[in-house]
Amino acid sequence: MTAVLVVEQCLNGLQLGVMLFLMAAGLTLVFGIMNLVNLAHGSLYMVGAYLSVAFLEMSGSFLAAVALALPATLVVGMLVEVVALRSLYERDHLDQVLATFGLILFFNEAVSIVWGRAALFTSVPPALGGFVEILPGIRYPVYRATIILVGLAVALGLALVVSRTRVGMLVRAGASNRTMVAALGVNVRLLYTVVFGVGAALAGLGGLMAGPIYTVQPGMGEEILILVFVVIVIGGIGSIRGAVVGAIVVGMVDTLGRAFLKPMLATVLSPPAADSAGPALASMLIYILMAAVLYFRPQGLFPAVRG
């Protein structure tokens, strides 16, 4: 286990964490202010990935694909909110789970009708190809480094919007008391639709960036969605800060566990035992972490203030 490998895996963990954060931000905001459990958030991630692939093929330009796919995902998100989810805010979580489960089935099938069931592969845009020397002797793919930077920039921007702007104040105020926000003259319905759309666009951004490094296929949203649930449970529902911390922690633990658990076990167990126990344990690591966090803090690390 060399230092280079450790640094590289840490960066990979950070990169996964950043992707998880893009998903978690929308999900936690939507839950925090609208009290809506949206299982279909992963579908929006998938829609973002497919749309960017489609736009890339049409335009041939990565930038154009980004410029088209993000607003398109935003619109898809707002449509979903208006058509299917708006009337579910007052319902109990079970109804929300069921309806958004229905949405997942719909979206997964819809993309497989349009693009087929087979995975699509896209390549890293040429401008972001190659490697960059991050530390002396440590080279890291430019594309993955870009994801980290974009993700951190979005996190920072989102934190600023939520903490400094009027819209951010309304979002926080709505989380604690939506009736009062409405009674003071704010169109809460519209606010919700916009917030939902922005959450969708962030998920779409995640999907868009995921395209070239993971596979684009129906159901890709759910795999990451469940990781995102773990993120949110660890971080505390409704808290942006919790989403950041939870995402980085989960991204790191998962990546490092998969990379190093087996060799570490090999130092104490026999090689065949380590071979079989390593991957099994690595796949369970974040869930064990979640259980541990819950045991000590059932509300997550950063429980959101609610009125």
Partner: protein, 315 residues
């Protein structure tokens, strides 16, 4: 009045299920035998989920985990040459109960949306665990060399015998569930769902009772998993995939939760719908998805609720 309608429908349903093999034999369509057996196995799983979801208000989104555990509890001993159902099936129920005990003890510390996410996450953990265990076939799973062996006339290789075993177990589970839910234990679980603060104020600590119900539901679903392994004669981590948990939950809601016949009716409706729609188009889920949303928006009490006028928490 409503209770009479319910009783009549329930008896008629049981009689219809008992008649299926006869009809299938007469029509020379063994496929129906297979299909209805599968329906009944999922009905057992759905009934077990309804025990905690409908009566206990615990929205467990990881119920397929026990289905998978039960199935592996048949396939893993079989892999090592142990085919006795007397060992496999109690093992399925025991290990499922143990898993439910651990998962429940952690997730019942929370409530609401946390509970949903945590149960989902734990089930998904077991799914990935299944994938990562190469010795048990990893992603591909295992073929079951032969069905569980019980000796005597109970030979599951005979599709008719297997059918009636499943039917008997379904009826037994329904009967047991009915007793439990109306006994003191069931009253506490239902009361805690109805009004937790009130339940605590009159002196109940809901946690232990909920956990016990959670474990019972896990064990019964583990049994359904053992049956499912025998039904399909192979086992994969896919049994535990979260969409499977979603399917079981849909069956319960579709049929009408908090009732006894509801989950059975839901399993029938769901699997028949799947059968009909998938014969029509491979993209049948594009119809099922919006259908689900419509059910949630406009038919919350489910099929059985609409038929019998039964309502939540009783029946």
């Amino acid at each position: 009045m409503a209770s009479r309608v319910r009783a009549v429908t329930a008896v008629a349903g049981a009689a219809a299920l008992a008649a299926v093999p006869v009809v299938a034999a007469a029509l020379q369509e063994p496929f129906y035998l297979d299909l209805v057996r599968r329906v009944m196995i999922f009905a057992i799983a759905a009934v077990s989920l309804d025990l905690i979801l409908g009566y206990g208000g615990m929205v467990s989104f990881g119920h397929a985990a026990y289905l998978g555990i039960g199935a592996y509890a048949v396939a893993v001993p079989a892999l090592h040459g142990v085919h006795s159902g007397w060992l496999q099936w109690p093992l399925a129920m025991g290990v499922s109960a143990l898993a439910a005990l651990v998962i429940g003890a952690i997730s019942l510390r929370t409530s609401g949306v946390y509970f949903i996410m945590i149960t989902l996450a734990f089930a998904q953990m077991l799914y990935y665990l299944g994938i990562s265990i190469e010795a048990w076939g990893g992603d591909d799973g295992m073929r079951l060399a032969r069905r569980s062996r019980f000796g005597g006339p109970v030979d599951l290789a005979d599709p008719y015998v297997f059918y009636y075993v499943v039917l008997a177990l379904l009826l037994a589970v329904l009967a047991l569930g009915h007793r439990v839910i109306h006994a003191r234990f069931g009253m506490v679980v239902r009361a805690a769902r109805s009004n937790e603060a009130r339940a605590r104020a009159i002196g109940f600590s809901p946690f232990r009772y909920r956990l016990a119900a959670f474990v019972m539901a896990g064990a019964v679903c583990g049994l359904a998993g053992a049956l499912l392994a025998n039904q399909t004669e192979y086992v994969t981590p896919g049994f535990m995939h979260w969409t499977r948990s979603g399917d079981i939950m849909v069956m319960v809601i579709l049929g009408g939760m908090g009732t006894f016949v509801g989950p059975v009716a839901g399993a029938v409706a769901f699997l028949l719908l799947e059968n009909v729609l998938s014969a029509w188009t491979v993209h049948w889920q594009i119809i099922l998805g919006p259908l689900l949303i419509l059910v949630v928006l406009y038919a919350r009490r489910g099929l059985w609720g609409a038929v019998s006028g039964g309502s939540l928490g009783r029946g």
